[in-house]
């Protein structure tokens, strides 16, 4: 058993986390907190796609826009075409992927700064375009998006049902992302993020792999968008705007630690989703104060923990190892030094 655990440490760790998380609704009954947990899962999934693109050296500011494409596709398909959620979900994912393929094909040729500007423009364009299309409800959005049809005895009428649906979707997303990361595709992405020239010289088609990560990332955002639309039953274009949504998505990733592809977004999204709500309650719904407090906190984390909250774990692990070796007597690294090395050296991949 012990050998098994140490051999499959990561999958076992995630399984324990998953079970613990799945048990939360057993003692948290408040729909308000369940709602926050559902949004945490959606936000974490979106942040994971942001990190995925970041790994290949692409900083995408239109994550929320593709999230919106998925949400709108699903809303239109279910409200106007009367399709079931279970058909809308895969269909809207494919539609988002198709959009990503066409758009990515044009904008990824110029990676770097141009790409950032292009995605910013796209993010703003999405809101304006959707807001001016009457058929999509304009800025009023689409309401009365139906809940998923029941499967057997499972009826989706409470937030807890959506919590479990969201959890299943998040697990699928994590599996898809880790499948890519653990394969040659993920290694090619990392190679591009580290050094595009060297990646080319080992035979990586930089454009194709960047496009792959863009399409996969956007498709996942679309999948989450479909879920979000049916969960909220109401969407409007401003939800998918650059500010605050995409900015927050980045902050989730950076706060948790962009070097941690799965756990970083989970921790970051969890912390910030709850923190934003708490601050909003404390400052009594004055949104600008919320952003100020959250912004100040993010600056603190970026300055003192540039590799995210999770790098604290590495720091404590090093501290623990140092203490076990008998403190400073054997001339091992001092805690201050380890803190520096744990915090100060972001991976080159993130310096895109």
């Amino acid at each position: 058993m012990r050998g098994f655990l140490s051999k499959h440490r990561r999958p076992s760790g995630f399984l324990v986390l998953l079970v613990a998380f799945a048990l939360v609704p057993l003692w948290v009954k408040s729909p308000y907190y369940i709602d926050l947990l559902v949004m945490t899962m959606v936000n974490a999934g979106l942040a994971m796609t942001f990190v995925m693109l970041l790994r290949t050296g692409l900083i995408s500011l239109c994550v929320a826009a593709f999230w919106g494409i998925g949400a709108y596709a699903s809303a239109v398909l279910s409200v106007n075409a009367g399709l079931s959620f279970w058909i809308c979900l895969p269909l809207s994912t494919l539609i988002t992927a198709a959009f990503a393929l066409v758009i990515g094909y044009v904008i990824i040729r110029n990676a770097g700064f141009t790409f950032i500007i292009m995605t910013t423009v796209l993010a703003l364009l999405f809101v304006t375009v959707v807001g001016n299309i009457k058929a999509l409800g304009g800025y009023n959005g689409i309401s009365n998006i139906p809940a998923p049809d029941s499967i057997g005895s499972i009826v989706f009428d409470t937030k807890v049902d959506f919590f479990y649906l969201g959890l299943v979707i998040l697990v699928v997303v994590v599996l898809i992302i880790s499948a890519f990361y653990s394969s040659w595709a993920g290694r090619a992405w990392k190679a591009i993020g580290f050094n595009p020239r060297l990646a080319q010289s080992i035979g990586v088609n930089v454009f194709r792999y960047r496009l792959l990560s863009f399409v996969v990332g956007c498709a996942i955002a679309g999948l989450l968008g479909s879920f979000y639309a049916h969960y909220q039953t109401y969407i409007n274009p401003n939800v998918f705007n650059l500010f605050p949504k995409t900015i927050f998505i980045q902050v989730y990733a950076v706060l948790g630690g962009a070097g941690f592809a799965i756990l970083g977004p989970l921790v970051g999204a969890g912390l910030l989703t709850f923190l934003t709500e708490t601050v909003t309650v404390v400052v009594q719904d004055k949104a600008e104060y919320t952003f100020m407090v959250v912004g100040a906190l993010v600056i603190l984390v970026v300055v003192f923990l540039p590799r995210g909250v999770l790098s604290l774990g590495e720091y404590f692990a090093k501290l623990w190892a140092w203490a076990r070796r008998g403190g400073g007597r054997d001339g091992g690294p001092q805690p201050e030094q380890t803190l520096k090395s744990a915090g100060a050296a972001p991976e080159e991949a993130e310096g895109a």
Partner: protein, 267 residues
């Protein structure tokens, strides 16, 4: 890749009347030379002679302004760098271009990019075939490192390696792409005498394993002792070509290098 018929007795690489302009700057000017299978060809010349540029053109990093490049009889002039690697031209970079935050073994392991066959899902579901492929490639990576004398440091983080080892690792990554032709861009720059001696041995070893080598190098005694044939460039043009001793006695070459202490041979 299959070799086209009739190319078996032709040169492995043929650079035909290649020019490369950067804006108004002519870096390479109507250059023609051939590389025979199994040889070590040295390209020398003063700074700015176009040596690195021609390697960039061969490996597809710079598109040629004019002329053609043939590899095994196939026109590769317009191929992208990743396509050219696939055909069997590996390259090492002038600066220490490595995956600095990965371990030494992982650097070579990443270099096997073209060697992976397993689909994405098989790896996630931990299919035995996928895991076996990874084990095999890791073992091959360790083998390459052992052959190149880096076996002892294979678990080190790359940025902690001394300069000489980083240079060798660059060659190891290129070897992982399973090249027929290896392009080395100043592999001995910044190395001390011992490191240079090691590198000479390693390059000879690579040639003996059947890989043809084109090398740019400033260290003259190294070039003279290592290369079978030498092409001398100046201002983007070939000014001489021949055996090392012919180059050493060539008036034009001496003139091109006049006053440059790098050509003051130590013999």
């Amino acid at each position: 890749m299959t070799t086209p018929a009739g190319s078996s007795n032709g040169p492995l690489l043929r650079v035909e009347d290649v020019s490369k302009h950067f804006g108004g700057l002519v870096a390479v000017n109507h250059l023609t030379f051939e590389v025979e299978e199994g040889e070590i060809l040295g390209i020398i010349g003063p700074n700015g002679a176009g040596k690195s540029t021609i390697l960039g053109v061969i490996s597809g990093f710079y598109p040629a302004t004019a002329g053609k490049v043939f590899f095994e009889g196939q026109d590769i002039t317009n191929l992208k760098s990743h396509g050219i690697v696939q055909l069997g031209i590996g390259r090492q970079f002038q600066a220490s271009t490595l995956f600095m935050s990965l371990s030494v073994l992982d650097n070579v392991y990443y270099g096997f990019h073209l060697g992976y066959k397993t689909p994405v899902w098989n790896r996630l579901l931990r299919f035995p075939s996928a895991l076996r492929e990874e084990r095999e490639l890791r073992a091959r990576g360790a083998e390459i490192l052992d052959q190149m004398g880096l076996g002892a440091v294979k678990n080190e983080i790359t940025k902690n390696l001394p300069h000489g080892h980083q240079r060798i690792l660059g060659v190891c990554i290129a070897l992982a792409t399973d090249p027929k032709l290896l392009l080395l861009d100043e592999p001995m720059t910044g190395m001390n005498q011992t490191e240079i001696a090691t590198m000479l041995e390693l390059v000879r070893g690579i040639r003996e394993s059947g890989i043809t080598i084109v090398m740019i190098e400033h260290n003259m005694s190294a070039v003279m002792s290592l290369c079978d044939r030498i092409v001398v460039l100046d201002h983007g043009q070939e000014i001489a070509e021949g055996l090392p001793w012919e180059i050493r006695e060539n008036d034009q070459v001496i003139e091109a290098y006049l006053g440059k202490d790098e050509f003051l041979l130590d013999d």
